[in-house]
């Protein structure tokens, strides 16, 4: 029998001993929730009344015509409350926290979307909340820091290591090993020690369940391909689970190509030659690391994809050939974002724009009778500073300079 928490040879629970009982308790609470149909009903009700679920599936008619190939549908996770798929996971874990009787939540965040979602959940459920965020990401995602603080969370900038997502995860664990009695660690993606990959995938499966139903209803058929960006892999696992039992649907995970997969400046664990098996952050997967096992400093324009590891579930699916992995460069991503805004009036997050970029590369050479889905994991509003900077937008710059001068006066 396979060990719990293993997907092929990937996964596991490499946890410090001090957390053994905490994980035992978490596993028991999670198993009980899975076995209790009223838990999922409560979850669906919460997501319908607090978070606009089911989210729409939008036909991107203009871009489909423009590219002249497959009919493109967009799963609108941006319309979730707080603007990304992260809410699906967070609200679910919030219900679990209530059941476990804990009063404080902590989380890591890269793009800040998971942090904002966690701060929101904590405000709604009355939990104390601390968010760990790499110092580099605090700067990159300033609007999200503002909202987290406004919702009552404490945001702790992490200055160790590479000052990004992996370092925020380490810091969250350091908090947890001290405060496990009253605190739950809301892991933001399908990574980390068991049961997190399974738990987060379970809550995110709501995306795929809806998308499957919607595409049959609107297009009358299954999609040929489904695209999702992959940081840790939670939005991808969410949408893919709706199509894992239909082998005719090809699943494509899109990683951050950064300045190019041959440049060393990227975060493509599976779509480049640079990843290798390792054990870190509590689990066994493919990491971007050197020959000694020291983790590399990854790079992407999208903070949420700028991570050294990837879900053990996705690594297993990749190894078995059930998910194809590709990458999109920063430049391709900004072009795809531009086209999506101009032609569809939709603003995907920089993370999500990776999925758009890959889909646009492929759609034109597909048949017009074919259908594809792009999972739009989140909205781009949070990225306004980064995107404006990347486009070197003159009127935005002028505005910031004036504003700065106003504050300085």
């Amino acid at each position: 029998m396979a060990k719990p928490g293993y997907y092929g040879k990937w996964g596991g629970a490499f946890i410090p001993e001090v957390l053994f009982e905490t994980f035992k308790e978490l596993n028991i609470a999670f198993e009980a929730a899975k076995a209790d149909p009223s838990f999922w009903q409560e979850y669906l009700h919460l997501m319908a009344t607090y978070s606009c679920r089911p989210t729409p599936l939008t036909y991107a008619e203009n871009i489909s015509k423009h590219l002249g190939g497959a009919q493109i549908y967009i799963k609108r996770e941006d319309l979730n409350h707080t603007g990304a798929h992260k809410a699906n996971n967070v609200m679910g874990q919030g219900l679990l926290v209530k059941r476990m009787g804990k009063t404080r939540v902590i989380a890591e965040t890269g793009a800040g979307q998971h942090g904002v979602a966690t701060a929101t959940m904590a405000a709604k459920f009355g939990f104390d909340c601390t968010i760990y965020m790499g110092e580099e990401d605090v700067v990159r995602q300033r609007p999200n820091v503002f909202w987290m603080e406004k919702m009552g969370a404490t945001v702790v900038p992490v200055t160790s290591g590479t000052k990004t997502l992996k370092d925020a995860i380490n810091e969250a664990f350091r908090d947890w090993v001290t405060a496990m009695d009253d605190t739950h660690y809301v892991m933001g993606t399908v990574c980390g020690p068991h049961p997190f990959p399974e738990m987060v995938a379970w809550f995110q499966s709501i995306i795929g369940t809806e998308a499957h139903k919607q595409i049959i209803e609107y297009a009358g058929k299954l999609p040929s391909r489904v695209y999702a960006c992959v940081g840790g892999g939670s939005n991808a696992m969410g949408v893919f689970q709706g199509f894992l039992n239909t082998p005719e649907v090809e699943l494509i995970g899109v990683e951050a190509g950064g300045l190019g997969v041959d440049s060393g400046e990227h975060a493509a664990r599976l779509a480049s030659k640079d990843g290798s098996p390792g054990v870190a952050q509590g689990y066994h997967t493919m990491f971007l690391q050197n020959d000694d096992g020291q983790m590399n400093d990854t790079y992407s324009v999208a903070a949420g994809l700028d991570y050294v590891g990837v879900s053990p579930i996705l690594t297993d699916l990749w190894e078995k050939g059930q998910v194809r992995f590709e990458s999109a460069t920063d430049k391709e991503v900004l072009d795809a974002l531009d086209m999506t805004m101009k032609m569809e009036g939709i603003i995907p997050a920089l993370e999500s724009s990776h999925a758009f970029a890959q889909a646009y590369k492929e759609a034109g050479s597909m048949g017009t009778d074919e259908v594809i889905i792009i999972n739009m994991s989140g909205r781009g509003d949070k990225d306004i500073f980064t995107i404006a900077h990347a486009y070197d937008d003159p009127s935005w710059k002028e505005f910031i300079i004036k504003k700065g001068a106003g504050y300085a006066a």
Binding site: P16, E17, F20, E21, G161, R174, V279, A280, Q281, G282
Partner: protein
């Protein structure tokens, strides 16, 4: 068994009521300084030294040791250099040396190779804080085969049942972390701590080492008679930072005088 025997033999010596184990982050601030610090430690009676091979993700460590790991890696030190240094120390000093590191370092090195090399140097034990026995089947089997003690960890959160399970896999001694949290913060020794140590004693027949936040003669005095080994980690790193390697000898000597 080998390491346990060494510990028992040391404890049997006159006026040795408690042993000392110190902690070194290899390459921080440099192997040069490590060499001098270890010399001072050994000369002043330390019985065991755990040498940490730095890792980029030291999840179970506090700020001081995190920074030490990071700064060591910034000098581009390699695992191979750390291994060679370990060999040199084993050859130079007649005390027990252990490697402490995170599992990825061993995994990437090759688990079998890591055991083989360490055995040939006469390394006595491994401390790997992110490898619970549930994930360590291969590691624990190799530890038996190569007779290198796998040091497992008790925490204040460990149930009596869990302690028994851990004891069934462990060898050498049991590493009892004195409190929740990461390395480096102060530990308050109180009645709660005493009852925890009692539980540790009940949980295993191995010698008990107590670590996390132990920094003074008072701490060591308090532990004497309760634990078999006091572990000094962050305290000597801070000392070397503030006063240089020369300060280590007198500090170590003062702990049991």
């Amino acid at each position: 068994m080998q390491l346990e025997n060494y510990i028992r033999a040391e404890l049997a010596k006159p006026a040795k009521d408690i042993l000392l184990m110190t902690h070194i982050v290899l390459g921080y601030p440099s192997l040069e300084v490590n060499r001098e610090v270890i010399r001072q430690m050994v000369e002043n009676g330390v019985e065991l030294i755990e040498m940490q091979i730095p890792f980029s993700e030291p999840m179970a460590d506090g700020p001081t040791i995190v920074r030490a790991n990071q700064e060591s890696l910034e000098t581009n030190i390699t695992v191979e250099e750390c291994m060679a240094f370990g060999q040199e120390m084993c050859e130079t000093h007649g005390i027990a040396f252990l490697f402490m590191t995170y599992y990825n370092i061993i995994y990437k090195y090759g688990v079998v190779d890591f055991f083989k090399k360490s055995k040939s140097y006469n390394i006595q034990g491994f401390i790997v804080p992110d490898l619970p026995p549930e994930e360590g089947a291969e590691f624990l089997a190799l530890a038996k085969e190569y007779e290198i003690a796998p040091i497992l960890i008790y925490a204040p959160t460990s149930s009596p049942e869990r302690m028994q399970t851990l004891a069934s896999y462990a060898d050498g001694f049991m590493y009892c972390v004195a409190r929740k949290g990461v390395t480096g913060q102060k530990t308050d020794f109180d009645l709660e701590f005493d009852s925890y140590i009692d539980r540790c004693r009940t949980g295993t027949s191995l010698p008990l080492a107590v670590g996390f936040g132990i920094s003074s003669r008072e701490d060591i005095t308090y532990l004497t008679g309760k634990a078999d080994i006091g572990v000094i980690g962050t305290a000597t790193i801070n000392l070397v930072n503030d006063k240089g390697a020369e300060a280590v000898g007198p500090f170590i000597k003062g702990l049991r005088d």
